[in-house]
Amino acid sequence: MRVSPITAAILLSEEGLNALRIALPDLPDSPLIFLFVQETDELGLWVRVKRKTEDHVLLIRWEFVLTIDLPAAEVKTVGMKP
C-alpha cells in the first residue's frame, strides 16, 4: 500500500510524542498530530517539517507509531470527451 506523500493524522506513543516535542517544540497540544509524510520505509515515517528558515525531514520510527489516519474514500471524478 502506497501511503505517501500525504499529510496524515498520526497518533504516537507517549515516548514518541515526547521525543517529537523535543525536536518540534511548537507542536499543537493534541495527541493526534498532522504531519506531512514524505516517505515511509522499513525504519519508519520520514516527515517533512518547517523550521524557521528551512524545511527539515525527521524520522519517526515505527515502534512509536500507534495509528496513522488517512482520508481513504475520496473519489474525484470528471467526464472527458475521447
Partner: protein, 144 residues
Amino acid sequence: MQISVEGRRSSVGDWQAVSEIPADQLKPLTPEQAAVVAELKISAEDYARSILEGERASEALLEKTQRFARFLNQRFASRVGGVQIDSVALETWAGKFRVAIRGKVNTVFRINEDLVDDLFEGGSKEADERISRVIDLVVGERVV
C-alpha cells in the same frame, strides 16, 4: 469517458504552498469538519491545511489521469479499431491506473503508475513500449 482519482496523495510542493498560506486566509471548516476537530481534539488550522492540500493534490492527480487517458486513447486508436475507453481511474493506494474498455473488447486491466511516470516524467522509451505491450496483450487475449 470517465476519469477519476480514488484515495488521496499529495506532494512536497502542495504541502509547501499550503503551509505558507496565512492562517486567517484558510477556508473556514464546515460544521461537519469542525465537529471532527472537536471530537478528535486536533488542531483546526492543521486540519484545514490538510484538507486544502488534499484538494490541490487531487486536482493534480486528476490532470495526470486525464493526460494518461488521452495517451491511451491515441494508442488504442492506432493499434486496434472498435475499442473505446470507458473509464480510467487512478487507485492512489495501489499505485495503479485501472482502465475499462468496451466495444470489440470488453475488459478491465491495470497499468502501474510508476510506468506512466517513467513515460511522462522521464520520457522513457522502455515505459512506452511496455505500456504498448500491455495494450497488445489485453487486446490479443480478449479478441477471438
